[in-house]
């Protein structure tokens, strides 16, 4: 194994890790806001990728330009999902935890079925785009442009989110609603509105991730399944309730995955991720940066 192989693997791992972070941040945001784990998160990503694909296929819109449109569409979608489903799930008096898990899990199945119904199960790809297939080579280390842009978007999204939560009125309202939903009602903040916006925002972030993923990944109704578990582990590893944790968790997951593949047979590379998760929570039961 040469130094070049190791550096290349770690570089690829870091880029992928930042993307995992971007995929997971929506999940982390929603969880932090209202303790709900969205089991349809992978399907949100799938819908975002299809949206990007169709904008490309029918209107020849490049995924990079499509990204804001897809994010906006997913924002609406996320808010609607909250209002139609999750709102009732969190109201459940009995077994709130299981109701949330299984209502979003059921939603995931429906979304897959609908995707198969309307889009057929065929595999799609964005065949040419500004970023697709381009790659930068520095001293023998290759950095694919789509992943590089994805990593930058991820960093920017986290920075914006950090600013948004800590410096804006709405962010403070989100934070306050999270702390004590009952008290905010007294000061005239509509809890449902805040939660709906939170879901919209979380989904919009997945939308961004999906638009970028569409450049270099294949698209089909079950594509979300490949990413869902990694997204949950990323969030939990970083610590629930911490948006920054998802960022750090993503990087750790990416690097661990890449280095495991250097040591073990690549078919076992996820074992490294899972083992690190277990190790972290056995030592720190709240993940790396978790507050709850």
């Amino acid at each position: 194994m040469t130094a070049e192989t190791i550096i290349q693997s770690l570089a690829s791992g870091l880029l992928m890790g930042l993307l995992y972070g971007l995929i997971a941040v929506g999940l982390a945001l929603i969880f932090g806001l209202m303790d709900v784990v969205n089991f349809a998160h992978g399907e949100f990503l799938m819908i975002a990728m299809y949206a990007t694909f169709f904008l490309f296929a029918f209107f020849a819109i490049d995924p990079l330009l499509a990204a804001p449109l897809v994010a906006a569409a997913l924002f609406v979608f996320g808010a609607v999902v909250y209002l139609l489903i999750v709102r009732f799930a969190v109201r459940a008096k009995a077994n709130a935890g299981m109701v949330q898990i299984f209502s979003t899990f059921g939603l995931a199945i429906v979304m897959r079925g609908l995707a198969q119904f309307f889009f057929t199960p065929d595999y799609r790809s964005v065949t040419h785009s500004w970023l697709g297939g381009k790659t930068i080579s520095i001293a023998g280390i290759f950095l694919p442009v789509p992943q590089l842009v994805g990593a930058l978007v991820s960093i920017a999204a986290f920075a914006a989110l950090y600013f948004f939560i800590n410096r804006t009125d709405f962010g403070r309202a989100l934070e306050a609603t999270r702390e004590d939903a009952g008290a905010v009602a007294l000061v005239g903040i509509d809890k449902n509105k805040v939660f709906a916006l939170g879901w919209g925002l979380g989904a919009a972030l997945v939308g961004l991730a999906g638009a970028i993923m569409a450049v270099f990944f294949y698209i089909y109704p079950d594509v979300g399944a490949s990413f869902a578990l990694i997204a949950y582990v990323t969030v939990a590893l970083g610590g629930f309730g911490s948006v920054f944790g998802a960022f750090a968790g993503g990087i750790v997951v990416g690097l661990v995955e890449a280095s495991t593949a250097l040591i073990l047979p690549p078919s076992l590379k996820s074992v490294g991720i899972y083992a690190v998760y277990l190790l972290v929570v056995f030592i720190r039961p709240r993940g790396l940066f978790g507050s709850i």
Partner: protein, 326 residues
């Protein structure tokens, strides 16, 4: 108007006995193997979900990694039978014991985790096992294990065409799982778990004893699940890592209990009786279209039931029971 606890328990037992007898008579009238197959699966899922319910429902430790124990049961039986000629009955016992021990070994560090940290830990542990089996050449790796068909006998627990032996075994397993749950409800453990659920702080004062009871629940739950896995291996006579240890399977095991009523005596049975025939029939009669209609129907039902009846479908049957469900 609550019935006294003891009265309710006696009535539950009588109802269960009647249902078991009725169920045992059904195959005398239903000869169609396809329908019999659905009944076997329904009973198997009722048993699995009941076992899952002990740890996740009553004890409150939500596991989405029970496929691990199911798979261990299936693999132990299949490996012992194909490689060493050990009868499946011993494999079943062995698989159950191995699973119980592993469940306790995993429970020791995992029970310190709370909420979703625990749930995700159970998922990734099962995934690790899945990947290891997928790459374990001696155990067949991805090729799985094809259990050779011998002559029909209870000794080999193999029956070429008849579903009845499988049906009665699954029925017995479901009854055992139900009885264990019924017994636990009124045990010391059952009281502690209820106390902890009602008042998490009580957990602190009960400390060690509650921890030990959780280990016990994990062991019992894993043992029964593994027996279910052994049964599956004999019933299907082919296993591979993806079909016995996949994450989907962990969800499928939990689903009947969740929809029927988590942490209730009758929830898993009711959930399985409704859900499994529904899944099978939707796939058989609308799944051939290739358009995912079966998924749409199935998923929509899960969403609707879990939203409309968060306490589970058992709530529909008895108002009084609701008081017991917490």
């Amino acid at each position: 108007m609550d019935m006294p606890f003891a009265t309710r328990r006696r009535r539950d037992l009588i109802v269960a006995a009647c249902l078991a007898v009725i169920a045992a008579l059904v195959p005398l009238f239903v000869k169609d193997v396809y329908v019999q197959n659905i009944m076997v699966l329904t009973l198997m899922y009722a048993a699995l979900s009941q076992s899952w319910n002990i740890l996740s429902g009553y004890c409150g430790q939500i596991s989405l990694g029970h496929a691990l124990y199911f798979g261990l049961g299936a693999y132990t039986t299949a490996i012992l039978f194909t490689k060493f000629g050990v009868l499946p009955w011993f494999g079943m016992l062995g698989g159950g014991l191995i699973s119980a021990v592993i469940a306790m070994a995993l429970g020791y560090p995992c029970f310190r985790l709370r909420g979703h940290y625990f749930v995700i830990a159970t998922i990734v542990i099962a995934e690790i096992a899945l990947l290891l089996f997928q790459n374990w050449n001696w155990a067949g790796a991805a090729l799985g294990i094809d259990i050779p068909v011998r002559h029909d006998s209870w000794l080999n627990f193999q029956f070429t065409r008849s579903k009845l032996p499988y049906f009665y075994f699954a029925l017995a397993l479901a009854c055992v799982a139900w009885l264990v749950t019924w017994w636990l409800e009124d045990s010391k453990w059952g009281y502690w778990w209820r106390a902890v659920k009602d008042n998490p702080d009580a957990a602190e004062s009960l400390g060690v004893v509650v921890f030990n009871s959780k280990m016990g629940a994990a062991a019992v739950s894993a043992f029964l699940t593994a027996v279910g896995g052994s049964f599956y291996a004999q019933f299907v006579s082919y296993i591979d890592p993806e079909s016995v240890m996949g994450f989907q399977f962990s969800l499928l095991m939990a689903l009947p209990a969740v929809l029927g009523g988590i942490g209730t005596l009758w929830g898993p049975v009711l959930g399985a009786v409704i859900l499994i025939p529904l899944t099978e029939l939707t796939r058989s009669f609308i799944g051939g279209s290739g358009r995912g209609v079966d998924l749409i129907v199935y998923g929509t039902l899960i969403v609707l039931i879990s939203l409309a009846r968060p306490e589970g479908l058992v709530g529909l049957f008895s108002r009084r029971r609701k008081a017991m469900v917490r």
